[in-house]
Amino acid sequence: MGKKILVADDEEVIRKFLRIHLAKLGYEVKEAADGEQAMEQLGKDDFDLLICDILMPKKDGWEVIKEVKTNPKTKNIPVIVLTAKNEDSDMFKGYDLGVNYYMTKPFTKGQLLYGLKLMLGETQEAIRT
């Protein structure tokens, strides 16, 4: 049984290729199309990693991250932000909220997998890939 990853992004095509990539690597992927769905999933399941967009309907990424990082049950889940907001101020805001890895769109598969493995403590593997 692979590690469980939650992908929260309102962009369908992005969820789709993340799903394909991660599934190939043997991870179990759950999806959320907005912030509320993400919170719902987080309540239902235990995740090893959260990949989160910022600009999402209903509840944006900042709020999701705030809730995750302030809840003792979920605060240890590593969070990767995957966003088009590429300004420094956004990145700093993310780290202040407790984001573990801040990644901006567009990105390559290599960049994504490096961050992913880093977060999951599989660094050696990441370098080899």
């Binding site: 962009e11 290729f17 990539h21 309907p57 209903k58 088009a84 590429n86 769109k105």
Partner: protein, 644 residues
Amino acid sequence: MMEEQDRKRIILTLRWTAIIVTSYLILFGRGRVTDLQLSHLLIAGYLLSNVLLTFLPKKWFSNSKFFYPLVIFDTGIVSFGMYLSEKMTIDFYLVFFLIIIFASISRNFKLLMVIGGITALLYGVLLYSWGLLITENGSSYTLRIPFIFIMTAFYGYIVQTLTKEKHQELTISEDKYRGLFENANEGIIILRNPQWQIVDVNREVEKASGFTKEELIQKEFLDLFTPEEIEKTRDYFKEVAEKGEARADSLSLKKKDGTFLEVDLSTKRIDLGDEPFYQVIIWDLTKQRRLEKKIRESKRNLEAIFDGIRDQLSLQAPDYEILRVNKAVIENYQKTYQELIGRKCYEVYYQRSVPCERCPVSVTIETKQPASSIMKFSERNGALQIFSYPILDEKGSLLSVIEYVKDITEEQRLQEQLIQSEKLAGIGTLASGVTHEINNPLSGIIGMAEIALEEEEPSKNKEYLKDILNCAQRIGEIVKGLKSYSRAAKKEDLSPVDLNDVLEESLKMVRLAIKTTSVEVIKKFQPIEKIQANVGEVQQVFTNLINNAFQAMDGKGGKLILSTRSLKDSVEVKVSDHGMGIPQKYLSQIFDPFFTTKKPGEGTGLGLNIVYRIVTKYEATIDVESKEQVGTTFTIKFPKRRDE
């Protein structure tokens, strides 16, 4: 005036009394009366005369021409009556004529009555001492005493009435003259020949000469002139004495402080009683010159201002005839002043045969109110702003119109530039939003392409390629939207524009930048007439308003309502939000340039100002309604095209 009314009654009463005492005198002192019939006739005649007098109009009683015959008539009758009365003695005649004399010289009625009373008393004492009062004819003698008294009153009253009348006439005419004399704006001096002594001067003379009235009176007028001018003045007065009147120009009058007053004189003989007097009117030329100089100076100042203004100014009659132009007009049209004056403005300025359409001068001529309008000249690619101001007389009717023409070509060009640069700034703020919007599909493209490259099953690649194509098309749409936004707003680029389409496009644009999905957009578009406009500019207006609406609802959510409808003369566009609203105190400033409540770097403060500039450029109106924490509505009304 009571006196006037009563005069007739008093005279009649006095006469009745006189008739009664005279009759008694005749009848009771009869004894020696030779002709009783004559006595009765006399009394009857006297009575009748008074009855006749009652029918005469009151006016007659204030006329001296009526009084004198009356007095003579009464004196005659009374004297004859006295003669008919018995034992007429010289002493009684003497007393009677004495009181007539008293009455005619006395001016004080009360004093006269006292004298009459004393006379009657003295005569009574005299008669008593002679023993006449106690004889058998005593009653006749006794009657003489009231007779004297009554006659004194009768004559006294008449004489006093006459003198009062004359006196009154004199006072009235003198008062009138005095008022004119003292209040005249010119100096007036009254002289007496032969020495030309000053008799009287008015206040104006005192003011101008520095001398007081007391100092001037009794002085010889000629002494007031300089020795060099005495001869000239003497000749002048010789002429006055001969002709009765004459004028003299530019004489120097010595003032009290030793300086001179330049004056014109006009002298005329006036008759105030027996002696001729001369009235000299003095015109202070210094005062006159000072006034003239002031007028000349203010005229020069106004001319300098008129000519000094760099913009074109012309003064026009209510029939558009040019009355005056300044240098700027002459330079601009390269015509001489004479070529412009007297011509119609539309002829010389615009080579037309009728006044120009939308000319503010026409408006001012019609309404007597200031007006202005902007005229564009495509051949010169220029624009003129024309202001017109009415000049009214005291009654409020139009004398002329000032037309002020300002070349605003440069101003308009700068405004175009400003609009353009605000648009660029807008693109800047859009950019970050657009980046996000492009980066998403771009990530999709990269991601899917990588998957496709790794995919060994070619049939699956078709699906991935479809995703890639989708993403690429989305990017294409976004870029197209941006292009329409950045399209240069060229002035000539006017075309019929459907505002519904522009609103739709603008909304799309803003949504690229702002991804707040908690906002519900409601569109209430009605079919509306196209307006003549530049699409880019109208879009700039709408994106600004929609963008503001989204920002106002940021984090709060709500409804954005876009509505359009067709009104009688205009097409209305409303942009409403349920945002934070605009505080009342800012409402009057929101269209001002550089007014912003956003943090530095977040807004230029030009957005709504540009909206306002563009809207007014299309002669449209923009209104804003806002309530804090409730929302804001902007309403724009574009005028419908007139040629449709």
